[in-house]
């Protein structure tokens, strides 16, 4: 039990020489069988709201550039529904989309501490991060495309749709000095256009 406690402590601790030294052991023990992530709101709370926007297209390759209108926000309605019922599964169902968007930027929670340490100039942390981000980004696009497919497959005209365009909306929280302001700034990042996967279960459940 003492061994488990010490390994768990080292695993969830910030990057330090002990963690660097025993990283393979920690990954093979706690990381494999007792995986824990304790980084929520630490060290810095998320100060942006990321949303996934999708638009179903009737062209296979997305050659017709998606216009500014017709985009559907897939994640914010889930968050609003979760506000109404705190003991629901809306946040759990929306979590893969939110995590994928964050993972696209930072490589995911397992790499966040390495990313932060790398930015502070720890070379060994940079090496771990570089190795991890390449692997981490590979399935992200696929996950987002699957979520987009689930959305398009649920439409009444699903048969006509052949691809889905995806965007990430980044909404920044007003700074403390502007906390009285009701307006929030946002910008969109295009994530690409993907062929619709017909085998994905339509997103008709839990629709707020």
């Amino acid at each position: 039990m003492l061994g488990y406690l010490m390994l768990a402590m080292a695993y969830v601790a910030p990057v330090n020489p002990v963690k660097l030294r025993f990283h393979p052991l920690l990954a093979a023990t706690v990381g494999t069988y007792f995986s824990q992530n304790w980084s929520l709101f630490a060290p810095t709370p998320i100060s942006v709201n990321n949303s996934l926007l999708a638009k179903c297209l009737d062209t296979a390759d997305g050659s017709a550039s998606p216009s500014a209108s017709g985009w559907k926000d897939l994640t914010t309605p889930m968050a609003k529904a979760f506000q109404q019922n705190r003991f629901s599964a809306y946040d759990r169902v929306a979590r893969p989309a939110g995590n994928s968007l964050r993972q696209f930027m930072s490589g995911g929670p397992e790499l966040t501490t390495w990313y932060d340490s790398c930015r502070k100039g720890v070379d060994s942390a940079c090496q771990v991060f570089e190795r991890g981000i390449t692997v981490a980004r590979r399935p992200v696009a696929q996950t987002l495309a699957t979520i987009g497919s689930a959305f398009c497959n649920a439409r009444s005209d699903a048969g006509d749709m052949r691809s889905v365009a995806l965007r990430m909306r980044v909404e920044t929280t007003p700074a403390w000095a502007d906390r009285g302001s009701a307006t929030r700034n946002h910008h969109d990042i295009d994530l690409g256009t993907y062929a619709i996967d017909r085998t994905v279960v339509p997103m008709t459940f839990l629709t707020p």
């Binding site: 969830v12 995986s35 929520l40 060290p43 810095t44 709370p45 709201n49 169902v93 696929q142 007003p174």
Partner: protein
């Protein structure tokens, strides 16, 4: 007396204490109910989305991974039946924990199911699930509520698990606060304002307005930070000071429950804090509650009439 004999006597006394009676039974029972209710309420509604979630789980399956456990986990999470089965098992296990029905078996089943989720489809797990999976091994070992723990071995096992539960919770809460301690927003007292602006938090919440107030935002942010960093010390405090410290810590966490991103985590931390108090604390609370009821206007009248 030689040092080795002194040590042996000390260990004898410690063993006697650890096998004499089961510790912190009320606190453990409260924690088990909190964990059970949260598991039930947070996993049962995910059942209708199993097919969609399995579609996402299939991506992890396609990319594969090392180790037999990983291979099994991603295979389970890649099928609708697997995701529905895991959600159902966790919800059912949560129900059993909440109503104290075969709690050790339920804790074991939930632990294995959560490990499969965390390994096969980690995006599905919330921060609360990460906390729960860390403390469930101890809930497998503690004695069930409602009947005495009999036999020296079972009493010893219960007490060892209680010590482990308290230590594990302390590690998690402390390291969470430790990681925050160097961040600017926690230093300058605006962290809770930022959390309240998360899009899961409705704009109309009174607590969100509170976090816009300079004094309240700062005091609340520092209370969360310092409470977390002092959490491991609570166990070492005296009886009275421990009661006050845990009460104040739980009051702050209760306020955080009103912020949706923190609701479940705060409830879990309140639940784990309940294991810091001894059974005599709960006896005092029970006596105080009974005394308070006697002083309530409506409660006292029928008693006098019958006298």
């Amino acid at each position: 007396m030689s040092p080795s004999r002194d040590l042996a006597n000390h260990l004898d006394r410690l063993f006697e204490r650890a096998t004499a009676s089961a510790w912190r039974r009320t606190g453990v029972a409260i924690f088990r109910v909190v964990v059970g209710c949260l598991l039930l309420l947070r996993w049962a509604p995910a059942l209708p989305g199993a097919g969609y979630l399995a579609s996402l789980g299939r991506i992890a399956f396609a990319h594969g991974g090392g180790g037999w456990f990983h291979a099994v986990a991603i295979r389970v999470c890649a099928s609708s039946v697997g995701v529905a089965g895991l959600s159902g098992l966790i919800a059912l296990g949560g129900l059993c924990l909440a109503i104290n029905m075969r709690p050790r078996l339920a804790a074991f089943v939930v632990w294995v199911a959560l490990l499969i989720v965390l390994r096969g489809f980690p995006d599905l797990a919330t921060p609360g699930d990460h906390f729960i999976v860390g403390v469930l091994p101890y809930l497998i070992l503690v004695g069930p509520s409602g009947r005495p723990v009999e036999g020296r071995f079972w009493v010893w096992l219960h007490n060892v698990a209680v010590v482990g539960l308290v230590a594990q919770s302390a590690i998690l809460v402390f390291l969470g606060a430790f990681a925050r301690a160097h961040a600017l927003s926690w230093h300058n007292g605006t962290a809770l304002y930022l959390i309240a602006q998360h899009h899961q938090s409705p704009a109309s919440l009174p607590v969100q307005d509170l976090t816009r107030n300079s004094v309240i935002a700062t005091v609340l942010t520092y209370s969360v930070l310092l409470g977390g960093m002092w959490y491991p010390i609570f166990s070492a405090l005296g009886w009275r000071a421990r009661g006050v410290a845990v009460g104040a810590f739980c009051a702050v966490q209760l306020l955080l429950c009103f912020l949706p991103p923190l609701t479940h985590l705060s409830l879990l931390i309140i639940g784990s804090s309940s294991t810091l108090l001894s059974d005599s604390h709960y006896d005092l609370i029970r006596r105080a509650a009974v005394g308070l009821r006697r002083h309530l206007p409506g409660a006292a009248l029928p008693r006098r009439a019958s006298d």
